[in-house]
């Protein structure tokens, strides 16, 4: 199959080359005035120069609408920080709420739409503190990328729904994100330090995380464990 594709490609390329040779030869014989060629060329160059200036201006104007570019070693381990009570950047916090609940709290995360980390406190009372952290989406382009683009701010999120005896993580809205990524030629970047020899890319995403602080006086009703899923998505911090 590969050999067939190769032969097809080289044949098509050869035919294309032959056609261009014929057209170029015959265009010279056509009685088009030299001044017409010169005018076409001059107009083309002027248009390209205008495009250069407009392109630079447009990039400057629209550049600050682009997603933030962050180094890979800047990635934050949110789960680890919650478990170990480490400070968490404000930018990751989506919502901080408190809820009054009854004797029991039923937690539903049927479709595993978030990671729920539950911390128990010795406090009396029935006030549950909730901190919802944003899901993350990042992508990088090219081989050996050391930075990634952070698209997290573009994700739509449905917050957990609370009643006085339950918390439900709803099915999250569908997020279809499309981006166009323009980079300079792969061929000509050999002296610029921007060398990209492929169109490869990678992306990562992280769930929405919910940190609950629940008094021990509230009885928890957690979803039934199914294999590893329970421990992965709804976890009581020891």
């Amino acid at each position: 199959m590969a050999a067939f594709t190769y032969i097809l490609f080289t044949t098509m390329f050869g035919i294309g080359l032959f056609i261009i040779i014929l057209v170029t030869q015959n265009l010279g014989r056509l009685q088009i005035k030299k001044s017409v060629h010169r005018t076409i060329f001059a107009v083309y160059i002027v248009l390209l120069l205008i495009a250069l200036v407009v392109g630079e201006a447009a990039e400057k104007k629209l550049g600050n609408q682009m997603p933030e570019r962050l180094p890979y070693d800047n990635q934050f381990d949110l789960e680890y920080a919650i478990i170990n009570k480490q400070p968490i950047p404000e930018s990751l916090l989506l919502e901080k709420r408190t809820h009054e609940v009854g004797e029991t709290l039923d937690i539903t995360n049927a479709y595993n739409q978030a990671v729920v980390l539950i911390e128990r406190t010795k406090d009396a009372g029935h006030t549950v503190k909730e901190a919802v952290y944003t899901p993350e989406l990042g992508a990088s382009f090219g081989n050996d990328a050391e930075e990634y683009y952070d698209f997290s701010g573009m994700l739509d999120v449905e917050l957990p729904v609370w009643t006085n005896h339950s918390m439900t993580v709803p099915i999250q809205p569908r997020n279809d994100i499309s981006f166009k990524f323009f980079h300079d030629s792969n061929v000509l970047g050999q002296f610029t330090g921007e060398k990209t020899t492929s169109y490869s890319s990678s992306s990562y995403s992280r769930f929405m995380s919910i940190h609950l602080i629940v008094p021990e006086s509230v009885e928890l009703k957690l979803p039934e464990a199914e294999g590893d899923e329970y421990t992965h998505y709804v976890r009581v911090i020891e």
């Binding site: 083309y44 997603p67 999250q172 990524f181 980079h183 030629s185 050999q190």
Partner: protein, 250 residues
């Protein structure tokens, strides 16, 4: 008898100006090819989709766009132009001048250098057109330094493109010269075209060293220019040597 005596350089210059006029259509073809490349190839774009794991409904589509397609079109054009410069029609046109092999070849070399510079500048400038198209389509990321942000990068791209275009022009010129010398070269080139694996020429193939990697893996601009000059002298020298062996008006 002539009342004015011109040097070989002056004759070559006049022939060069004549060639620029006579071959103006070649530059119109370049413009057409570059426009076709911009409209239809979309600058060698690749679309990828990433869907997140488990049950989180995130789909991330992105298209990477460059102007490698336009570069391909320009190099394609360069080969054709180099090839056509050796055609019988081109050589016969030169006989309207008092000419010899040296001035004829020099004029061709000047023309080739001019074509390389024009081809490279227009191609690199086309990058701005692609940038505007991408920015206007919305949700765009431009990850390249432009002329104002990094002039040295911009001009190094022009230099690289000039080097590659010059080499391809001279390759076409050499191929045309060899075919003029002996039609058996058509068979040889056809055999090479279909028989030689692309990995023997391109970068990153199974062969460690390839003709393209000799230039492409060079990260020093000065060394790259030296390599291009050396290769140009070699390619043009062979063409010059072969043309000198051709009969007049052959």
């Amino acid at each position: 008898m002539f009342s004015t005596r011109w040097s070989a350089a002056e004759w070559a210059k006049r022939q060069y100006l004549f060639k620029m006029n006579a071959n103006a259509s070649m530059f119109t073809i370049l413009i057409v090819l570059q426009i076709i490349g911009t409209i239809f190839i979309s600058g060698a774009s690749v679309t990828s989709t990433h869907s997140s794991e488990d049950y989180i409904p995130i789909t991330f589509n992105f298209t990477t766009v460059s102007y490698d397609g336009q570069i391909g079109m320009t190099l394609f054009w360069a080969f054709v132009v180099g090839f056509l410069l050796t055609s019988a029609a081109q050589r016969n046109e030169s006989f309207v001048f008092v000419t010899n092999r040296l001035t004829f070849q020099l004029a061709n070399f000047y023309f080739i250098c001019t074509a390389a510079v024009i081809g490279s500048i227009t191609t690199v400038l086309l990058g701005s057109v692609m940038k505007i198209i991408i920015l206007l389509s919305g949700n765009a990321i431009v990850e390249t330094s432009g002329l104002f942000a990094s002039p040295s990068d911009f001009f190094s791209r022009v230099a690289a493109m000039t080097g590659y275009t010059l080499l391809v022009l001279l390759l076409g010129y050499l191929a045309g010269t060899l075919i003029q010398w002996s039609k058996w070269f058509i068979v040889l080139f056809a055999a090479l075209w279909f028989g030689m694996p692309s990995s023997a020429i391109l970068v990153g193939g199974e062969y460690g060293f390839t003709p393209l990697s000799f230039f492409f893996n060079e990260t020093s601009l000065i060394l790259f220019i030296l390599k291009v000059i050396l290769a140009s002298v070699l390619l043009f020298g062979i063409s010059f040597f072969v043309t000198n062996r051709l009969e007049v008006r052959q």
